[in-house]
Symmetry: D2
Amino acid sequence: MLEIAVLGAGRIGRIHAGNIAAHPDARLAGIADTVPNAAARLAETLGARALTIDDALSADAVLIASPTPTHADYIERAAARRLPVFCEKPIDLSADRVRACLASVRQAGIKLMVGFNRRFDPHFAALKARLGAGEIGAIEMLTIISRDPSPPPIAYVETSGGLFRDMMIHDLDMARFLLDEEPVEVTAAASCLVDPAIGAAGDVDTAVVTLRTASGRLCQISNSRRASYGYDQRIEAHGAKGLLRAGNVLPTTVELADAAGFRTDPVLPFFLERYAASYRTELGAFIATITGGTSARPDGEDGLRALLLADAALESSRTGRTVRPSEV
Amino acid sequence: MLEIAVLGAGRIGRIHAGNIAAHPDARLAGIADTVPNAAARLAETLGARALTIDDALSADAVLIASPTPTHADYIERAAARRLPVFCEKPIDLSADRVRACLASVRQAGIKLMVGFNRRFDPHFAALKARLGAGEIGAIEMLTIISRDPSPPPIAYVETSGGLFRDMMIHDLDMARFLLDEEPVEVTAAASCLVDPAIGAAGDVDTAVVTLRTASGRLCQISNSRRASYGYDQRIEAHGAKGLLRAGNVLPTTVELADAAGFRTDPVLPFFLERYAASYRTELGAFIATITGGTSARPDGEDGLRALLLADAALESSRTGRTVRPSEV
Amino acid sequence: MLEIAVLGAGRIGRIHAGNIAAHPDARLAGIADTVPNAAARLAETLGARALTIDDALSADAVLIASPTPTHADYIERAAARRLPVFCEKPIDLSADRVRACLASVRQAGIKLMVGFNRRFDPHFAALKARLGAGEIGAIEMLTIISRDPSPPPIAYVETSGGLFRDMMIHDLDMARFLLDEEPVEVTAAASCLVDPAIGAAGDVDTAVVTLRTASGRLCQISNSRRASYGYDQRIEAHGAKGLLRAGNVLPTTVELADAAGFRTDPVLPFFLERYAASYRTELGAFIATITGGTSARPDGEDGLRALLLADAALESSRTGRTVRPSEV
Amino acid sequence: MLEIAVLGAGRIGRIHAGNIAAHPDARLAGIADTVPNAAARLAETLGARALTIDDALSADAVLIASPTPTHADYIERAAARRLPVFCEKPIDLSADRVRACLASVRQAGIKLMVGFNRRFDPHFAALKARLGAGEIGAIEMLTIISRDPSPPPIAYVETSGGLFRDMMIHDLDMARFLLDEEPVEVTAAASCLVDPAIGAAGDVDTAVVTLRTASGRLCQISNSRRASYGYDQRIEAHGAKGLLRAGNVLPTTVELADAAGFRTDPVLPFFLERYAASYRTELGAFIATITGGTSARPDGEDGLRALLLADAALESSRTGRTVRPSEV
């Protein structure tokens, strides 16, 4: 039984802690949060203990789900104790800080897995497997549409690092995952169309990015902070031999037909519902990494590369030029 | 150029006359109707002449689209002149009258094609071809759903011969066409749920039928005189190796997504739109029968057999017993 | 914490026992089976104990998932101890035996819930709720298509009670559930098309049924023991104001497009996958019935009525007559 | 009866000539081609005459479907005779030549309609109408996917003006049509992935473009010269209140289900099939423009603006910079 402690008792910590508690090969060592009451409340619902950060770092492994600014520090403290770490994305909003943190990770020789959970979504994972099996030959174009149901609170926006680093980073990782080749050119365009307050906070709410790999593969990403019909998450890969796509997931198959036409459900509301399975599978992969001795994927370098793409996208959106992402 | 005269200037006569006028291998010889003004009006819009019935029977071929009670007489008069005939279904509401008429047809040696136009619908024709190609192996079960958008006027109901002979006859022909084996048992259940006036007129508006062939193939038909979402026309064939189905046809592919879900168009409104292509192809088949010397299909026997199945269904719905259709 | 014992360690017992073990408001008291090793093995995987039948009947409630011939006896023994019972369908293959058993249940005043799990399937439950909300007005026609992926072993067929009592009984219950009115006429047709060995065992593998209620609502059911594309489970309700349907569930949304067309996944393979959620929700309903004091639904009378419809269907398929189901 | 002459007896001339011949309000005055035999052959199949260019310019109106380099000259010759003109896109590959031609058109005061036929496709026209009706509120993002089934001959590629001016120009016009606001920024990325011979001819076969309007609306276009599954033509508009999309059109609704899943037809093969209705409706609009006195739309300025966007896209794909399209 692998004892895993969770740092952070917020929305995403709650998901991970629940999954650890339910996993047959793991035990929830406890939950630590800088707000002790939050840790205590969550721990209670799961029959676990609230811990100090220090105590949490005595478990067999640690899962970091605390606010972004704490991630790199916690990773380094875990590295110092030679603990395997799962860290929610992003490691840090500063690429330099991430590089420094990854150096500590390498030096300590610990495993670090980064929370790009969508790689584990059963629909996208099946798409990836079928791409790998050659069903459409070489991939040539990739289309990723990813829209939140509604914008986050402005307080969140202000510390999020902006749409590219906070939201699109998932799609940038997905593009790397599916293109099987690094994007070398990034071009972005962005607007504030949903909520002027987001613009006032210095961010955008509507953005598109084009990626180009060295061999010429092209990827288009479309992001919006609002979609009236639910959490829009779609991927389409176009290749020499055909097209593979993964569509939205609806809560039921029920359809109504009347004079207005045929009507299905709207899309599952948000990531808690849409990606519930991906979080469980992701945790299983983390556990297998530790108990099975395999490499962690996505790892710290994946986290850094996605951040560098997001940084390039942000720069491109501001300069109107195609930008090459920085070196790792 | 084959000269074809049309008998009957009503709704269905208008369709056929227009198709003849537009066909590259045919010429519209003219239109005859017992209401001369109706013939004149339709003829004018098509640049053709209004004819007497007698004159019409001097064309190269005749297409009968007049009221049902006139069909058998007109067929016999055409047979007397050795004219090829296309006749709208049904030949007559009385099986005995149909048998007598078909005897005249056989004696005259003319070609008689009966207007089961749905056999020529591109969707159903493709389904039939793929069944024939063995895509699902031997057919085992057939499901036919056929619902009108709204009930006909009571005056029409009163002379229609009833739902089984007027409406379901198309589905019974389709069942024979697709099952590739004669149904030997017919069981029906029927109700009046849509409009009590239909019941008062001695008819039903909601009916289902089960057919069974000698080898045990089963077919279910579902009819209603009302469907709020349009003219519902669907077929599903289930076989040893899989399922083949042909769905409804929508006017456009446009889809709206919003908080209420995803919404497509309703189904094409009625047979004029849904089966426009089938009438054109059916006419081509009739012309090819004459000019190419092939057998007419569906022919008079097909018309009789569908009527006998409808008669059996009506009897079953009244007696609660499975009925064997009469011999041809 | 409600302690529930499971009788029967077979395929369906395993599902229920696992769900009890995972339920927050219940505890798995243990598992009893006439094959003690089977109970022990299943109990071990769930961290529970193997019990004798007698010990099992000392729990707070009992869930009967043993072979059908034992159901009625176990219900009566539980009734003697005033235990709430959940029993897999059917209570017994003999309607008279069911009637006797239900008399004991009534006399003891215990709650008895019968395992028509499909009522709890999220898709069908949503359909039912939306029917109830009046989205299509009064229901007029119901179409239920239910096909197994492949026929059961002949040994199973021989003791199953036949397709109508074993397989279609689920659809007959669903018809009652959705029609909101008792069927008063049953007409069936059946064949052996899939496997001659099934016919040799006295059963059929392909069957259709028509139900008619007192007010004239019509229901068509289509059953086959084989569907190459997976476990085909569909429902369509046609009403005065429109149509509501619940389609098949696919494992992923992934679609491939190539020269052969657009291809989705086949349907979920069988009931373990398709109805996993329904078993969990069903268990929750049973627990709520006990802890919340609500009536059990579906209850013993529902079980009896579905059996009487199956008996009527069997008789109709043999006599070619429409049959009125026996009185409760 | 409006007499319309057709210049150009190639693939697209054939479509237009056939539609004129079939139109109730027009007569095909004849067909002119620099290859007289081509004109004669096409004219014969339509019961029309082969004409000299000069004779053609004596009709009531002229439809130019000749090779691109002749378009501007013919327009100017027609303008000199005050003839209404329909011209296939593009007017010319040089924006300056187009400007000069449009000056002649303005001076002559003739009507000039340009052949962006997709505006008249029933699916896209319905999408446009519903956008106009406010179904999704203000449009924020537009996604246009447009892929040919297979690359054109290299000889065609060499004189086509390149993918942006030859193929994407349709999508750029569609973007203008649907965005209801001029794009002011164009960013493109392009590759040669389908056929190296296309690259050797100085062109690309795979390209994406991002457009941004003054108010910040974003549009993504995806083009490929190859799609194994047919002629891929899709549009998606995302707005404040929802999403409207128009999907691909399949030849039939037939679907096969077997162990491999559910399979529909591939998409209609190419523009002759996909856009047959749009050419007919487009011709009707041209005729109505002349007979009804309404403005021609899309007109010469629409043709020029789409070309300027294509030029900007080409420049962007070569410089890696966002480009503002030139002034009209």
